[in-house]
Symmetry: C2
Subunit: 220 residues, 2 copies
C-alpha cells in the first residue's frame, strides 16, 4: 500500500534499494521533461521494467510519497529522492590525475551536474601543471592539501595510475576528504581509514566481465 | 578442499563469482610482477581481504587449479582465469561517440589491453570525422555497418548521449555486434534483443551513490 507516512530513517534501508535510487531519479527526471505531473506505480513499473510492488516497497522505505488513487507526484518525488541522494546540496569535487580519464571526467563534470561542482584539477606532472582543461587550470599536487582545506572539498576523484593511488588517497584523506571516486585499478576501500567512502569505477574489469559474458554466450 | 579436477562447465557459476574473477586476475598479475611462483589460498586471502575458504570455493568452480600442500601456481592460475575471461583471444572494439568520454576511452584502450583491440572510432558530427584520436582516424557513423562486418567487431562502446544510444545500439546489433559497453545514461539492456549483452558504466549514478553514502555518514 502506498502511504503518505514520513517516518524516514526508522528502518534499515538495504544497499540494493540505495543502488536503485539514482535510477528512479533518472526516470522521474525524464517524466518531468516529458511533461508528466503524476504517475501510478503501475505505469512507472512498466517504464522501468520492475514490478509495481517493488516500486511501492522501495519508495515506502523513504515514507512513500504516493497517494492512493492519485499515484506519485512526479516533481515532488524527484525532488525528494534528490534530497535523499544529497543532490540538493553542492558537493565540491577535485580531480587528481589529468591523463585520459581525468581529462574526460573534467569535461564530463563541467558545467556543474546535479550539485556536483568541479573546483580543482591536480597532477604531479610539471608538463601538465598550468594547462587549462575544461576551463580550469591544472595545479601541482603540492597545492592540493591547502586547496582541499580552503575549498571544502568533499569528493576527490582519483584518476591516477594504480601505483600512485594509495599515496594520493592518503594525502586527500589526511586533509579532510571523506569520499573518493576511484578510477585507479586498486581496491582503495581496503586501504583507507574507517569512515572514508570509496566508490570504485574499474573500467578494465567492467570490460573483462563483458568479454566473459560474450565468450560464455558463444559457447552455448 | 583444493582439487585438481578439471570438471569445468559442470555446474552453474553464480554471477557473484564471475564478478570476482577480474579481481583474482588482477591480484595474480601483481603477484607475477612481484616474482611469486606460487601462493597458498591463505596468503592470497590475506592480500585480497577475503576468506581462504571463499577463494577455494570460487576457484573450485573452475576446477580448482590448486594442489594441497603446494598452493596455487600463480602464473598457471593467472593464465587459466585469463582464458575463462576470454582474455587469451583478441576482441575487436569500436567506440561510437568521440566526446569527452569516448576520447578518453580511446586513449585508455591504446595500445591493446589484455586482448582488447580498439580498431575503429565513429561519430556523427562532421567536425569530428577525419580527426585523429589516439592514433586512429574518426570515421562517420555511416561507415559503421560495413566496418563492423569487415572487421569482425565484437564489442561496441557507446559513448553517445542518452538520447542517441538506442538508435546506435540498434544499428550495431543489426550489423552483428553482440556485446555493448554502454556509457550512455540509459538502460540499454531493456532495449536490445535477447542474446545481446550490455555492460553499463553509469558514471553519474556512481557519483550519486557516493553522494548518498557521504550524506548518510554525515548524519550519523
Amino acid at each position: 500500500m502506498e502511504s503518505n507516512n514520513r517516518n524516514k530513517e526508522s528502518k534499515h534501508i538495504s544497499n540494493a534499494v540505495i543502488r536503485r535510487l539514482p535510477r528512479y531519479y533518472r526516470y522521474l527526471g525524464e517524466l518531468i521533461n516529458e511533461g508528466y505531473e503524476r504517475i501510478s506505480s503501475k505505469d512507472l513499473s512498466i517504464r522501468m521494467h520492475v514490478t509495481a510492488s517493488q516500486i511501492r516497497q522501495d519508495l515506502n522505505n523513504f515514507g512513500g510519497f504516493g497517494q492512493q488513487g492519485y499515484g506519485y507526484n512526479v516533481r515532488y518525488l524527484h525532488g525528494e529522492i534528490g534530497k535523499i541522494l544529497g543532490l540538493d546540496e553542492t558537493h565540491n569535487i577535485v580531480i587528481v590525475g589529468i591523463g585520459n580519464i581525468g581529462h574526460a571526467l573534467a569535461g564530463y563534470l563541467m558545467p556543474d551536474r546535479n550539485g556536483f561542482h568541479l573546483c580543482g584539477l591536480f597532477d604531479s606532472d610539471p608538463d601538465k601543471v598550468g594547462k587549462v582543461v575544461a576551463g580550469l587550470t591544472v595545479h601541482s599536487i603540492e597545492e592540493l592539501p591547502a586547496f582541499i582545506r580552503d575549498n571544502h572539498v568533499e569528493i576527490a576523484t582519483l584518476a591516477v595510475p594504480g601505483s600512485a593511488a594509495r599515496e594520493v588517497a592518503d594525502l586527500v584523506v589526511r586533509n579532510g576528504v571523506k569520499s573518493i571516486w576511484n578510477f585507479a585499478l586498486i581496491d582503495l576501500n581496503l586501504c583507507v581509514p574507517k569512515g572514508v567512502i570509496v566508490e570504485n569505477v574499474h573500467l578494465l574489469e567492467s570490460l573483462m566481465r563483458l568479454s566473459y559474458d560474450s565468450k560464455k554466450k558463444n559457447e552455448k
